[in-house]
């Protein structure tokens, strides 16, 4: 074995070890969530999804208000964020030379990495303080702000991926620009666009920091309107993990598993969408 071969072996071994090191924590997270959460959910039964949380050292109860809150927040923030993202992306793609469109492009990339706790603070200042109360609306707005750059970037990429020839074909039929965009471009890119929306949806399902000062953490009542206090699974985990009570730790593990399963479902749906793209 000469030196070159030895170097190659060493390199290969190094790459394999480092790859395993990189993936291991992900598996560890999944396994420990399943390991710890599964028993809790089996013990609590279906009531885990239907009941309110327990008092300290008083059984398992359930996470119904937080679960409902998480779902409602994701829907409300999607209603706020997705249309805006869609139009921002169309604007950026359709008018690439417009200064405002260039700004949209740069900002949406920059906002991808904005610290989420800052978004929470912002919404606290502009909505919670003037209204004098926490609310589902404030939480949804914070999540919408988190979601917009993601969805915008994905939709932008989906639209840019549509070959120029379809755009030409649309205009050659005498169609106006809005019709070319909405009937043809969006139609062809629809799977990519849906994937972007799902990823935005999944993103806000797990967010915690934007909700810290906006939502109010009422985890005993299911929110019925946008001005009600609410809770999310992520906040419940955050709070219960810090309590000294064993039963609340257990609820947090069960809640973590519920959240992970929700993620997995969305992940699988979005995979399905991306697989079926054919042009």
């Amino acid at each position: 074995m000469d030196v070159r071969e030895v170097k190659e072996r060493v390199f290969l071994v190094l790459v394999v070890i480092l790859s395993i090191a990189a993936v291991l924590p992900v598996f560890h997270v999944f396994l420990s969530v399943i390991w710890n959460g599964f028993g809790v959910i089996m013990e609590a039964g279906p009531n885990f999804l239907l009941d309110v949380p327990p008092a300290p050292n008083a059984g398992l109860g359930g996470i119904a208000p937080s679960l409902a809150g998480t779902l409602l927040l994701a829907v409300l923030s999607s209603l706020l964020g997705i249309p805006l993202s869609l139009f921002a992306a169309i604007f950026a793609v359709e008018f690439p030379d417009n200064p405002l469109a260039k700004m949209v492009r740069v900002l949406s990339k920059a906002l991808l990495e904005i610290p989420s706790v800052v978004v929470g603070m912002l919404v606290y200042a502009i909505l919670v303080v003037p209204m004098g109360r926490f609310s589902m609306l404030a939480g949804s707005l914070a999540l919408a702000i988190m979601m917009i750059p993601y969805v915008t970037t994905y939709v932008e990429q989906a639209l840019e991926g549509v070959p120029f020839t379809y755009r030409e074909a649309g205009f050659a039929l005498g169609l106006s620009r809005p019709k070319v965009v909405f009937e043809i471009m969006v139609g062809i890119a629809r799977r990519g666009i849906l994937t972007g929306m799902l990823i935005g949806f999944a993103k806000v399902l797990g967010e915690t920091a934007p909700l810290l000062f906006t939502l109010g953490r009422d985890r005993y009542n299911i929110p019925l309107g946008p001005l009600d206090y609410g809770d999310s699974i992520s906040l419940l985990i955050f709070d219960y993990a810090q309590t000294p009570y064993a039963n609340m730790h257990q609820v947090a593990w069960g809640a973590a598993l519920v959240l992970t399963v929700m993620f997995l479902i969305i992940f699988l749906i979005s995979r399905k969408f991306t697989e079926e793209v054919f042009l």
Binding site: E168, A169, A172, L173, G174, I188, L279
Partner: protein, 256 residues
């Protein structure tokens, strides 16, 4: 330029620049109604650009500039609304490009539907059938109009694109090397379809091709373009038998 009666297409003093590059240089020609004009020339000579200058798809290309006049059935293309102008014309592209997300039926129906040219579902069905028949595709697809176009062969897809263009009942049909990416059998079918269009309809055809054989076989007039300049223009028979320009002779022999 004064409109002369009887001409489907009049081009005068047409110049096109893209990103500062002079692509079409002072081209002028006139084609009577119900004729086929073949625009032939080697790759990169500006044929496709000329075609896109006629229906103003050139507007989509950033930093493009057009000077000169184009009249299509008397309509001054560059002083009218581009969207209205494009509705007078149909276009078929080099690579078949049926909309991949729409069924065969929808591909043909979308033009008339979105341009509000039909009043009822029946009328639309009738039109879709008519266009598919004119494109010589009806018999092959009539049982599966709801299929997506990627199930069709490349040549069938190209005829679907022809039907999509015809559904708007264009006066001028522009074809950008429509048989360039199509097998020989389908190429013959497309050529047949074009000839029968001319027989039955008030339509004029401009066909871009880089093969002199196709130009001679199918057209009434030939425009030979080389490096953006119109080298020779005239009746096909004249140009095929008596080319005046040395470049044309070479191109017909396949030497350019």
């Amino acid at each position: 330029m004064i409109e002369e009666k009887g001409y489907a297409l009049q081009i005068e003093g047409l110049n096109v620049w893209i990103r500062g590059k002079h692509i079409i240089k002072n081209v002028g020609l006139k084609v009577p109604k119900r004729r086929i004009l073949a625009v032939m020339g080697p790759s990169g000579s500006g044929k496709s650009t000329l075609l896109r200058a006629i229906n103003r798809l050139i507007d989509l290309i950033p930093e493009s500039k057009v000077e000169g006049k184009v009249l299509v059935y008397g309509t001054d293309v560059y002083s009218e609304d581009p969207y209205r102008v494009r509705r007078l014309m149909g276009m078929v592209f080099q690579t078949p490009n049926p909309f991949p997300n729409m069924s065969i039926y929808e591909n043909v129906a979308i033009g008339p539907k979105l341009n509000r040219l039909v009043r009822s579902k029946d009328e639309l069905n009738e039109l879709v059938r008519w266009a598919l028949e004119k494109a010589m595709l009806w018999d092959e697809v009539k049982g599966r109009l709801d299929d997506l176009p990627h199930r069709l062969s490349g040549g069938q897809q190209q005829r679907l694109c022809l039907a999509r263009a015809l559904a708007l009942k264009p006066k001028l049909l522009l074809l950008d090397e429509p048989t360039g990416n199509v097998d020989p059998v389908n190429a013959v079918k497309i050529e047949e379809a074009l000839r029968s269009l001319l027989r039955d309809l008030e339509i004029t055809i401009v066909l871009v091709t880089h093969t002199p054989h196709q130009a001679v076989r199918i057209s009434d007039y030939i425009a030979f373009i080389y490096m953006g300049e119109l080298v020779e223009f005239g009746l096909t028979d004249t140009i095929a038998l008596n080319p005046r320009h040395e470049l044309t002779v070479k191109f017909l022999r396949g030497e350019v």
